[in-house]
Subunit: 427 residues, 2 copies
């Protein structure tokens, strides 16, 4: 619009020059003034806050980070500004993923990677984030537009693709491996993957990618009747993977695949999705910034305001080959972990006079006490805590084809995965 | 901007008429075309969805209510469209109130009344809803701008005022009494008041208004260290009022008044506030649309993902006179309630062969079983459930001045209230 307005000023100037009668110049001047006013109005409509170099804890109205840096003074977080080093990938920018992305953006996360292939529709307006004027845009484009306005300090990368296709999965994998944002980082290029998708196939693709990359991730879901949901932490080899145990949801026995019929849609509510997004990003902040207890599984039954928790150990008979690899590595690394834990305990004991803020284990996670492997029972499919029912059939029921291959992403693995997913879709 | 562009076309037309040489008309025509293009660009930037007469359950991408009407087909809500009859007042349009307002707007609530006196600042950008380009606007104006775009079907009324001032409280009271939206409604003009304020004085003002009007309301709060919060249902005479028992919050012993010092600010997180807003509006939907169990108190301790619940009976020694009036009325109405409950039970027994969707009590509330007044103990200040601590000192500690007068809002009551609030501020 700015360019259009500048052209108009030029046109008016040339018109003025060609006018024979200078008595009409006043009319032209008036028109030029109008155009300048319009330019000002257009400018003010797209005003943005400038980037911020360092997160300040100064308490002034103009500081977008004052209330976050206050977490340090309150003794909750030891070093809040570390958040700028982290990369989080969000797969699925729908009712949960878009709100999770907005929360992380407002928290000043370093880098966000967004994946979705869908477009914004009016039918999405019963959930937070997207606006009616974005209808027709891809969810990734609409999200980047809104998030960049909210916080220009966040590096946003968006991928308009379907991770359950061969090509989409390949791009997904290479984007997770890309370490250009923080080359010194160990492992993959992201610190956490958040799965905010609405179907089984996409969750299995995230599971496959994270098992192959040894990437910690969190899964989230909302039931088809819109009144319950869950979040879950998955650490390859250490906790159950998505194929080890079927997904759980409270108070719902609906099989989501039965809902993908023509003319039928699942219910959804901004409340349930907002709560699940909030719990998911809160768990993310606790995990990244090392405060509080990171939950391994947290359910939300909104009809009864019941919030079940549980821990799940990996299944030694898991049908996912990459998961079995990670399990083996985790067991082999036990002596090193024990030695590190012992050294840490001794260091803490010697500095016991100092009051440290959070003297928990490395990730503040108490999912499984691996000094005594039997102390926390892996919850089997047949022994769920009260109030939990299976959302989907057991993963093994689906796996008629052989499990995917080794951890390297060869074209054979992808072909296998694709065939598996096709078999699932054909059900 | 549209008006400005129209004026410009008029100016160009009159310029064309006054031009002696018609050879210059082409230049003017070109300019007019530019203005028309600009008008189109301005239009597309503010495209809005049109109003919808009836809520349709048709499953098409263009239906903003399809996912909400699906709650009926899923057996969760008996009549979702009733939501358009309800009026909800939200006091405080900050980190919790603004998100609650957006959720209710997207759910298609009939009418929203918003109260706040504050302006949007960059320091608010670490919570959801407000955008950097709204900095400097009043929170009420900015909220109405955003909410009207999201859902033009909702009737929005905003009040830029401070309810703890005499004038503000008077306007607040008369706005709650106004029944023009649904003249046939019993009681006040609103179905529910949501308190989303951040200080004790404002909560006491909401409590006073709701006790006087016999108005059911819900209270919400987030701790100053940003990691815990709560929601609470308050039904005058039936449950504890805000003056009966001090507010509770999990895992926080911080007195909020100590935080109102210069250069010091409370911490806040979009996650905690999003979760509290979600739980608050979920409880609102359950209360208004009669599904599930309405929670009387629900806490959120995010460090441990612990969600305590409890019920609180009114305090017969409450310092609030209007509360004592409501308690008396509630006790006197017991025979009528018992008769109605008996008639309902008999009607249900006679139609027992039919499977009714939700055969609970009128409001699906099991806060206090008043057929046996001692079955649920009113939780006293000294006997809190595990994990709960007082957020603020007991209300009685503040009340050195006599309790406010009778239920009618006379100028004396307001003066008393104002004096009380001033005494609190002077602490």
């Amino acid at each position: 619009m700015e360019a259009e307005l500048k052209d108009m000023i030029d046109d008016l100037e040339s018109l003025k020059r060609s006018l024979p009668d200078s008595s009409l110049h006043a009319s032209i001047d008036k028109l030029e003034l109008r155009v300048e006013n319009l330019a000002k109005m257009a400018m003010s409509a797209t005003v943005r806050r400038s980037k911020v170099k360092d997160m300040s804890s100064e308490v002034v109205d103009s500081n977008p980070y004052s209330r976050l840096m206050a977490l340090q003074r309150m003794g909750i977080v030891e070093n809040y500004e570390r958040i700028r080093e982290f990369s989080v990938a969000i797969v699925g920018v729908g009712g949960v993923g878009s709100v999770a992305a907005e929360m992380l953006t407002r928290c000043g996360i370093g880098r966000l990677l967004l994946y979705d292939y869908d477009k914004v529709e009016l039918a999405n307006m019963n959930r937070l984030f997207f606006r009616p004027e974005q209808v027709g845009m891809t969810k990734t484009d609409a999200a980047v537009q809104t998030l960049a306005d909210i916080n220009p300090d966040v590096v946003l990368e968006s991928f308009t693709l379907n991770i359950t296709t061969v090509q989409g999965f390949e791009t997904f994998m290479s984007s997770l491996r890309n370490k250009s944002f923080r080359p010194s980082k160990e492992g993959s290029g992201v610190d956490l993957v958040l799965s905010c998708v609405d179907n089984y196939e996409a969750r299995m693709a995230v599971n496959q990618a994270c098992n192959e990359l040894n990437q910690t991730w969190m899964e989230s879901g909302v039931s088809e009747d819109a009144v319950s949901g869950h979040i879950q932490l998955l650490m390859p080899g250490e906790t159950a993977c998505f194929a080890c145990a079927p997904p759980l949801v409270v108070a719902s026995g609906v099989d989501e695949r039965t809902l993908k019929r023509e003319g039928v849609c699942a219910a959804s509510l901004p409340t349930t999705m907002g709560v699940v997004a909030g719990l998911l990003v809160q768990n993310t902040l606790k995990y990244l910034l090392k405060f509080g207890q990171v939950s391994s599984y947290l359910g939300y039954n909104s009809l009864k305001d019941y919030f079940p928790t549980m821990a799940m150990k990996p299944n030694p008979q898991c049908s996912n080959a990459a998961c079995l690899e990670r399990q083996k590595e985790y067991i082999l690394a036990k002596p090193a972990r024990d030695a590190a834990a012992k050294a840490k305990m001794e260091a803490e004991a010697s500095s016991a006079t100092e009051c440290s803020l959070h003297a928990d284990n490395e990730w503040n996670i108490s999912v499984v006490d691996d000094s005594n492997p039997d102390s926390v029972e892996a919850t089997s499919a047949d022994a769920l805590p009260e109030g939990l029912t299976h959302e989907l059939p057991n993963a093994d029921d689906f796996k008629k084809s052989p499990a995917p291959g080794p951890t390297d992403t060869s074209i054979d693995d992808l072909d296998l995965l694709r065939k598996q997913l096709e078999a699932l879709n054909a059900d």
